[in-house]
């Protein structure tokens, strides 16, 4: 074996490490989609991490909100999308302020 050129298993290991390094930042900031259709948040419950973004895609012709009591609020105009980057860990229930019968949940891991 010549010095300076790693053999095949070593090269594979380096490549694998490199791809993990590339994949990690992407995994650390995912975008999670929640669809709103006929006044239903779907999926109703999502798991996320701090730094992830939730994107609500509103298919209704009605304006909605994703509101956490005493916390954040996102306005979601009719047939539009709106996003929020999660800044704090914890489980939160949210609802639509205009239609409080619409409910959703996010589990935010640190």
């Amino acid at each position: 074996m010549k010095a300076g050129v790693p053999d095949r298993p070593v090269r594979l290991a380096i490549l694998t490490l490199a791809s993990i390094a590339i994949a990690m930042p992407a995994a650390a900031a995912a975008t999670i989609q929640v669809t709103i259709d006929k006044l239903v948040f779907s999926p109703a419950s999502v798991d996320a991490k701090v730094g992830d973004t939730i994107e609500w895609v509103n298919k209704d012709v009605f304006a909605h909100t994703a509101t956490v009591k005493g916390g954040w609020e996102v306005m979601i105009p009719p047939r539009k999308s709106a996003s929020l980057t999660l800044k704090a860990a914890g489980a939160v229930d949210y609802f639509c302020r205009f239609h409080p019968n619409m409910k959703g949940h996010v589990d935010v891991a640190p």
Binding site: K38, L39, V61, A63, C96, F98, H99, P100, N101
Partner: protein
């Protein structure tokens, strides 16, 4: 205060309470479309009155939400009847609703400030509750066209949301 609405809606529900043998009493799709559209128009008119008269931000915001949502529902309803080539048909229930709403508006017109706000919001709670009852027990089960039924079901969810929203605002006024 809500007697007239209640009477009108009781009349609406009575139609549903009739025995099945009186099939003629079951509203037809053109009548259902007219009733649902009228119920929306009446709530928009009530909202416009509140936007003009109220000085309370919560009440005005609520009224604007009602105006926006009911206009959106009614636009969908108009698009649907056009697509289905259904001509909404005026009927006794629509007329009773319109008459009751007119009387309620006249009553509210005489009120001011907090008394107006309270009466408007309480009527919104009662009105949505009763329209929801009519949708659930009569209009949705009677609708024969699947698309009309589906629109009414979405309407029911919207109105149930409004009822809860109105209850929330009513709670804040106390």
């Amino acid at each position: 205060m809500f007697t007239r609405y209640t009477v009108a809606l009781a009349a609406l529900l009575l139609v549903g309470a009739a025995p099945a043998s009186y099939a003629a009493d079951k509203p037809t799709d053109p009548q259902i479309a007219h009733i649902a559209y009228t119920a929306g128009v009446l709530d928009i008119e009530a909202a416009k009155q509140a936007i003009k008269k109220s000085k309370n931000k919560e009440v005005v915001d609520f009224a604007k939400d009602m105006e926006r949502d009911h206009e959106a529902v009614n636009k969908q309803a108009l698009d649907l009847v056009k697509k289905l080539k259904v001509k909404p048909e005026d009927n006794a229930t629509s007329q009773a609703l319109t008459k009751a709403a007119k009387e309620e508006r006249a009553k509210l017109a005489k009120l001011k400030g907090a008394a107006f706000d309270k009466a408007y919001i309480e009527n919104e709670v009662a009105y949505h509750k009763q329209v929801n009852g009519a949708l659930e027990t009569l209009l949705i089960p009677s609708a024969s066209n699947a698309e009309l039924k589906s629109l009414l079901e979405t309407g029911l969810k919207i109105f149930q949301g409004h009822e809860q929203h109105a209850e929330h605002v009513a709670g804040m006024l106390k």
